[in-house]
């Protein structure tokens, strides 16, 4: 198989032998693609790939292809080192949640959009929630945010709900500190995370963390550990 000049973002790269790298590329038409990038020290080994819009070509068969061409087609989208960790969190989610080689223009566009606006302003928390909600929806684990578990009863702002992953919200009478017990107003505002207030953001963060943990079978996200270390 030979694929020419596809738009891509590098999600992860790791050294392989002396002068090669194994890179995971997110593409719109071929999904996540693993490629081997050879001869780094001889050519442009110093060029960082992460967070830069790329045009790539690859060839080969099986699960690991050979990257035959890579060029940057724009400036790096994330330029502030403090935001690299957030970018790595996005990358870790993509790598751990998105199935390999399942083409999705929507996932590519979502990643491109979020990476492109992370540098602007200070609404990174909201952008992360937006990314998490949209990504889960795109890979078939969408959340039910406006209707109860019966798909009919609308969520009410002032009520409290227990979110059962895979099923939906169930109204509960008692308040609780459990990660999946959440106010109706937070559930509703998760439909448009960019306009969330700070109280909802905290609850939404707890809920999304719990849901993502379940989808990752409770294996920890290492980028989250780094963020927690910084906050300690």
């Amino acid at each position: 198989m030979r694929v020419q000049l596809q738009h891509a973002y590098c999600i992860h790269s790791r050294s392989y032998r002396e002068t090669s790298q194994i890179v995971e590329m997110l593409t719109p038409e071929h999904g996540l693609v693993s490629c081997i990038r050879r001869g780094l020290k001889k050519t442009n080994g110093s060029v960082g790939l992460l967070f830069s819009p790329l045009l790539i070509s690859w060839s080969g068969r099986g699960d690991l292809f050979t990257l035959t061409h890579v060029e940057s087609v724009g400036a790096k989208k994330i330029t502030v080192p403090a935001l690299y960790i957030i970018g790595m969190y996005l990358n870790e989610l993509i790598l751990r949640l998105v199935p390999k080689s399942s083409p999705s223009k929507e996932v590519f566009n979502l990643y491109q959009h979020i990476v492109g606006v992370l540098d602007d302003g200070d609404n990174q928390e909201k952008l992360l929630r937006l990314f998490e909600v949209e990504l889960l929806a795109l890979i078939g684990h969408g959340l039910s945010l406006d209707k109860e578990i019966d798909h009919e009863t609308p969520i009410q702002k002032d009520c409290t709900y227990r979110y059962d992953v895979g099923l939906g919200p169930v109204k509960v009478m008692q308040k609780s500190t459990a990660w999946n017990v959440i106010k109706g107003t937070t559930l509703l505002s998760l439909q448009s995370p960019l306009s969330m207030d700070s109280t909802c953001l905290l609850e939404a963060k707890r809920l999304m963390r719990g849901i993502i943990n379940l989808h990752l079978a409770n294996r920890p996200l290492h980028s989250r550990e780094i963020l927690q270390f910084m906050q300690a």
């Binding site: 992860h12 790791r14 002396e18 442009n44 110093s46 060029v47 960082g48 992460l50 967070f51 830069s52 940057s72 400036a75 790096k76 330029t79 080192p81 403090a82 690299y84 960790i85 970018g87 790595m88 969190y89 990358n91 870790e92 790598l95 996200l221 290492h222 980028s223 550990e225 780094i226 270390f229 910084m230």
Partner: protein
């Protein structure tokens, strides 16, 4: 015509086979180079081979990490940390022990070091614990450090590592500096990649 002993277990004596196999653990050494090295040592330089074996044995047994900066040494503390003429108010953070020797060879830096033995790379499972950031924090809390020089590589992972350490330094009111990034010495604009030029422009200085 040469016979590839490494790939021919039936004909090759097992000791020779295992020597060739062992030499392949060196970086850049494949089966052919390993075979050539083994033959050279056995045919032409048996004394050299003995010395190499002794040195390797001794090094593996005795060389550990410096209790302060974590570079390789057979003593409790390395030659840099025990040198009293060096400034203990400056600590340079690097990713690997080879970086220490590169800086020592190329600059007149007279402070101390801390070697991370890697860089933060969440997707490879390398977090703050694996880099010994807790040991660094202990060192920062004990010593009177005035400047932390962040000399991690100019990769995304290197930048993240530098950023996390700079946040750590803030807790102890220690100033941090980052090694400069941009145009390589002797480089021409035409041949430099976009990201490097962008970096060079954003960190331009008065001239």
């Amino acid at each position: 015509m040469s016979i590839n002993y490494a790939n021919n277990g039936a004909q090759a004596p097992s000791l020779l086979d295992s020597l060739i196999e062992s030499l392949k653990c060196l970086p850049g050494v494949g089966p052919k180079s390993a075979q050539r090295m083994a033959f050279h040592l056995l045919q032409r330089d048996r004394d050299g081979a003995k010395n190499l074996a002794d040195a390797l044995n001794k090094a593996v047994k005795e060389i550990g990490h410096c209790g302060n900066c974590r570079i390789f040494t057979e003593h409790e503390f390395c030659f840099i940390c025990t040198d009293r003429s060096r400034l203990s108010s400056q600590i340079c953070i690097v990713e690997s022990p080879t970086d220490v020797f590169t800086i020592e060879r190329s600059t007149d830096y007279k402070g101390l070091y801390f070697v991370l033995m890697g860089r933060l790379s969440p997707l490879d499972g390398i977090g703050p614990k694996e880099l010994g950031l807790e040991a660094l924090e202990k060192r920062l809390s004990k010593l009177e450090v005035k400047e932390l020089i962040l000399a991690t590589n100019s990769t995304v992972e290197g930048e993240v590592t530098a950023h996390v350490i700079s946040e750590l330094a803030k807790k102890y009111n220690i100033s941090t500096t980052r090694i400069a990034q941009g145009m390589p010495v002797g480089g021409e604009l035409e041949y430099v990649d976009q990201n490097t030029i962008a970096q060079a422009f954003s960190s331009r200085r008065n001239y």
